[in-house]
């Protein structure tokens, strides 16, 4: 099977699974317990936290473990909004965020918050001028995703961070779920976003693990209350094996980043070039300077599902624009926001690469896709 749906989820690394198993076998005690086994589990957890903090250029106390990307995003959005609402109720985000931000925004709107949605240009990139215009005294939160999960547009996070910090007191949250381990992220005491969301299963760790990291001291209202774990900000017994597995996967991802990035860039350029041979029949949605590990394209007049099935017959797994919205019948909000031509709206496919993707697989995809196009356009009829 050629798996090209790594933005939906990734296959866990063998080493990461081994870590997960070993931690479950050896350090299963509750890290909050004061007996020796608990203390051991806690010191392992502390090491994992420390490792992630180092990879992110922050300190251990600024890293909280969550149950995944959606929780991290929800937590950041609601938590920062609640914490800051004595100063104002204005929030800025974009039209192309993941539903875990957009749905959270809707809910806050119903509670009386005022939300501005930035509109991306045809490359999926927001305008810093528009962001600047919309920032005001009452703005308490700006939430922008780093890399769009459906088409790979990269937002100018560093410039946005600088602008936000210079012109407002708003917290800046960045959904880095599709970018962590794929692109360098400027995040340190002096510069960068205030809050980052990271998900484990997008970087070959396990599903059900995530991180919310802070540049400085966590300033956020807790969401889960109870035993006071995670510095009182996220109660609930910490899933130590998931956390340690995530720390390991994060290290592997960051270490491999320079090498992987070169590969992704090469394949992405190769595929951009490849698709030109279909002329006006295929529209590549991903911008050429977008994230190299995501490539979205659309075939005129053909439904995405039909293409997925046809490729699947050839043992190639791709997805429609996003796994989260692929079961819905309406057009993706990202595609809508990009003003894609109607004839292309329903045929959007996404290829996304991961640590296990090989050059041969890219070639095999190209052959299969060429064959599928012929078949579906009736050229192969006997």
């Amino acid at each position: 099977m050629i798996y090209l749906d790594n933005s939906a989820t990734t296959k866990p690394h063998k080493e990461v699974l081994a870590t997960f198993m070993q931690v479950n076998e050896l350090y299963y005690a509750n890290p909050a317990s004061i007996h020796n086994a608990g203390v051991e589990a806690n010191s392992l957890l502390a090491k994992a936290r420390e490792q992630i903090a180092q990879l992110l250029n922050t300190v251990a106390n600024n890293v909280l473990f969550t149950a995944g990307g959606t929780e991290s995003n929800n937590f950041a959005f609601f938590g920062a909004a609640k914490k800051g609402n004595f100063r104002g109720k204005h929030i800025i985000t974009t039209e192309i965020e993941h539903p875990s931000i957009l749905e959270a925004a809707k809910r806050l709107e119903a509670e009386g918050y005022e939300i501005d949605y930035l509109k991306p240009d045809k490359n999926g990139v927001i305008s810093l001028d528009e962001l600047h215009e919309k920032l005001r005294k009452e703005t308490i939160l700006v939430s922008i995703m780093h890399v769009n999960n459906e088409m790979g547009a990269i937002q100018p996070i560093e410039e946005a961070a600088e602008m936000i910090h210079e012109n407002s007191r708003a917290m800046f949250h960045v959904d880095a779920i599709q970018s962590f381990g794929k692109l360098p992220i400027a995040f340190n005491d002096e510069a960068g976003p205030d809050i980052l969301s990271i998900s484990g299963h997008k970087i070959h760790a396990l599903k059900g693990s995530g991180v919310i990291a802070f540049r400085k001291k966590p300033m956020i209202e807790p969401f889960l209350v109870g035993g006071g774990q995670e510095f009182g900000l996220r109660s609930g017994t910490v899933a130590v094996p998931q956390a340690v597995a995530l720390a390991k996967a994060a290290r592997l991802a960051v270490e491999a980043l320079p090498v992987q990035l070169e590969k992704y860039k090469k394949w992405s350029a190769n595929l951009h070039e490849y698709f030109t041979q279909f002329g006006s029949e295929v529209l590549v949605l991903s911008p050429k300077n977008g994230a190299a590990h995501i490539l979205s394209f659309s075939v005129r007049g053909l439904k995405g599902e039909i293409l997925i099935n046809a490729l699947q017959k050839r043992d190639i797994i791709v997805s429609t624009s996003s796994a989260c919205s692929s079961k819905q019948t309406k057009t993706s909000h990202v595609v809508e926001a990009l003003n894609v031509d109607n004839r292309f709206k329903n045929g959007v496919l996404r290829l996304s690469f991961g640590a296990f993707t090989t050059e041969t697989e890219i070639e095999q995809f190209k052959q299969a896709f060429t064959a599928v196009m012929k078949e579906l356009k009736g050229e192969n009829e006997q």
């Binding site: 870590t19 070993q22 004061i34 020796n36 010191s43 090491k47 490792q51 390991k248």
Partner: protein, 403 residues
């Protein structure tokens, strides 16, 4: 890695003459203790400066992080070197100054020291030549001769050319050990490590004593105290930790002294034990983390009753400090996180419901007089265990494969 060594300045020593040599040797040993984990270090101690050789990036980073904590160092500078060739010198100077490019407008000067008189350019010529090369490259630099923000110091010596730009403030004070030795009562709480730190800053070498009451207190509590003792070594000295088996004495107090006075009596026993140990290890004073009014045992009346057992100087550097200020120091010196780990210690196991905050000495003495505590004290002192820090952390490796 452009830096080859770190130059350490002792500064103006208050101890001159023959003591100076002791001072320097002490400081060199202390530097070795503080960097036990990145040994071996090549250190060359000269009459008025010390050089630590930088072998790799990792050592350099650790040195830069921890040298500011080592007492007895006035300032230090990373030093780069190159051959006695003008082009090489120019290239090196630009490389060193690269760090100052993005820091806004700064004032700058070149300082030249030429001990190799055979070098073709004299001091002024070299100064002008280097200045003329550097200034056009950095738009944010302007020359100022008095008190510039950055001074690039170039030393032309016999063997090579040495350059430095950064002067980092040290912790000052005296090398630990140059002012005698005291015994620190180390409980595992927030205060006592801070008290130890403040004494070390005055050049006092520290041995620590800890009272251990198994099974009422756990190995984790002891482990925590070991970590604290180890943590204090980064200020430039080894620390001996003496662990006293205290259960027997503590139970005897509980069984023989009225409930509301056990606290006072327990502290008196601790002080007696500590004083005996102090004598055996050759320390001159006892250091405690007591701070007036913090808990029942820290009222003037309590301190009087506890102090009664000895005439040894009891040094209490925190006696007038506010808790919040103590916490602030604990955080700065990195002991806070360890101190707040929640393990029962011997001071809290048998805490009575309402300890007397104003115990009367005669009464305490009266109740203690029915029991042969001296024998128990002898035994506790005899059965002590001693650990020497810095100790390499072995615990960490266990998790290395998992992460």
């Amino acid at each position: 890695m452009i830096f080859k060594e770190i130059l350490v300045r002792y500064g103006e020593l208050s101890t001159k003459g023959r003591n100076k040599k002791d001072f320097i040797n002490r400081l060199r040993d202390n530097v070795r203790y503080s960097f036990n984990d990145i040994m071996p270090l090549k250190i060359r101690a000269e009459r008025d400066r010390m050089f630590i050789v930088i072998e790799n990036d990792e050592k350099f980073n650790v040195l830069m992080e921890r040298l500011p904590h080592v007492f007895g160092i006035q300032s230090f500078s990373p030093v780069a070197s190159c051959g006695k060739d003008l082009d090489e010198m120019k290239a090196l100077a630009l490389e060193i100054l690269e760090d100052y490019r993005d820091v806004g407008d700064i004032t700058f000067k070149v300082e030249v020291h030429r001990t190799d008189k055979a070098f073709p350019l004299n001091t002024h010529e070299l100064q002008r030549e280097m200045g003329a090369t550097i200034l056009p490259q950095f738009s944010n630099f302007s020359v100022q001769v008095k008190n510039p923000d950055v001074a690039l110091r170039i030393e032309v010596r016999e063997d090579a050319v040495y350059m430095m730009a950064q002067v980092i403030q040290g912790a000052g004070g005296m090398p630990v050990g140059s002012n005698g030795k005291s015994l620190l009562m180390l409980s595992g709480g927030i205060d006592s490590p801070v008290a130890g730190y403040l004494m070390m800053k005055r050049g006092v070498r520290i041995d620590a004593i800890h009272f251990f009451s198994p099974p009422y207190t756990s190995d984790n509590a002891l482990q925590k105290v070991k970590e604290l003792a180890n943590g204090l070594t980064k200020f430039g000295a080894n620390v001996r930790l003496i662990v006293i088996p205290f259960t027997e004495l503590q139970v005897a107090v509980k069984d023989n002294v009225p409930d509301n006075m056990t606290m006072t009596s327990t502290r008196r026993m601790m002080m007696k034990v500590a004083d005996k140990v102090r004598e055996e290890v050759g320390a001159l004073g006892i250091v405690t983390g007591e701070s007036l009014g913090q808990v029942a045992s820290q009222t003037l009346e309590s301190l009087t009753a506890i102090n009664d057992v000895t005439s040894t100087p009891i040094l209490r550097p925190l006696i007038a400090a506010d808790k919040l200020d103590i916490i602030k120091i604990a955080k700065e010196i990195g002991t806070y996180e360890t101190s707040i780990q929640p393990f029962e210690d011997c001071c809290t196991v048998f805490t009575p419901a309402s300890p007397k905050t104003k115990p009367r000495l005669d009464k305490v003495q009266h109740f203690e007089s029915f029991t042969q505590f001296d024998e128990l004290i002898e035994r506790a002192v005899k059965n002590r265990e001693t650990y020497i820090f810095p100790q390499k952390e072995v615990k960490e490796d266990k998790f290395a494969d998992l992460l």
